[in-house]
């Protein structure tokens, strides 16, 4: 059960913090109120569920709880790579769905703008993944100290 709980906690918290980060940024820049109503409840739910599945699969590929200190830097690098991959896969599917559904496309479906979005997303995803790796390591050290005094 402890492995399942770790996967669910790491995957879900990464997902929710990423979604809130994107929502907060687009809300602050004013794009959320313009683009969000076009997406629709069904599409938003499907995209969210798909991203949740991706993050759970990604979280199941490694472990952070009780990780040996010699493997900490490897974990951060792995987290960055996995997050880049998840972002690439998610953006590809989201853009394809966005372009084929009968709603106003949130971005211009031209090669350059799509390339900028995907490239920026992959780099941003990698940076966020590294931050998540460091954050989960800090959570693990805190939990170890609170339970075992390590």
């Amino acid at each position: 059960m402890d492995r399942l709980l770790e996967v669910v906690a790491v995957g879900t918290s990464s997902l929710v913090l990423s979604v809130l980060g994107v929502l907060g940024y687009s809300h602050a820049t004013g794009t959320l109120s313009r683009t969000f109503p076009d997406i629709g409840t069904a599409s938003a739910t499907l995209l969210f569920a798909y991203l949740w599945l991706l993050t759970l699969v990604a979280a199941s590929q490694g472990t952070v709880v009780g990780l040996d200190s010699a493997r900490w830097s490897g974990l951060v690098a792995d987290a960055a790579m996995v997050a880049s991959g998840v972002t690439l896969v998610f953006l590809t599917v989201a853009l394809v769905v966005g372009f084929v559904t009968p709603v106003t496309a949130p971005i211009d479906p031209a090669t350059v703008s799509v390339a900028w979005l995907v490239g920026g997303g992959v780099v941003g995803g990698g940076l966020a993944g590294a931050l998540f790796g460091v954050y989960f390591l800090c959570c693990d050290r805190l939990a170890a100290r609170l339970t075992r005094g390590e």
């Binding site: 709980l5 929710v16 979604v19 809300h27 109120s33 969000f36 409840t41």
Partner: protein
């Protein structure tokens, strides 16, 4: 959004919020009153907690889609931004608590932890604050 979809999304949102408040409050009371709490119960509460967090965010997206997103210059828009930040803080603070439960799973079948008592108490307070912000957001 048709009627059935509206009722389903709103009901799931409220049920998830009820669990996010009631689950941690119940565990806080358990730690306050019992000698030790079964770790298996804590594991289930944590699994359901993360499921409920996910449900509340995606049904929240459904609500935003249905009712419209206020612009950030308005008071309602500013409150929405505060709500996003409060939920993020709740999630950031909940991961260490879950990791403590994972360590407790590895160490035994029951646990009496001051850290978990505080963790669940603070979680319940945090969720209550978010419910208050949500109430202000809906009713103004």
């Amino acid at each position: 959004m048709d009627g059935l979809q509206y009722v389903a999304v709103r009901s799931l949102h409220v049920l998830a919020a009820a669990f996010l408040f009631g689950g941690p409050l119940g565990m806080w009371l358990a730690f306050r009153t019992a000698e030790a709490v079964p770790v298996r119960l804590l594991s289930w509460i944590e699994l359901l907690f993360w499921g409920a967090i996910s449900v509340i965010v995606f049904t929240g997206l459904g609500n935003l889609s249905a009712f419209g997103v206020p612009t950030v210059e308005t008071t309602t828009g500013a409150i929405l931004g505060v709500k996003f930040g409060a939920i993020a803080l709740l999630v950031v603070g909940s991961v260490p608590r879950t990791f403590v439960v994972i360590y407790a799973e590895q160490d035994g079948t029951t646990v009496h932890s001051r850290a978990l008592e505080w963790g669940y108490g603070l979680t319940a307070v945090g969720v209550a604050a978010i419910v208050f912000i949500a109430g202000v957001l809906v009713r103004g």
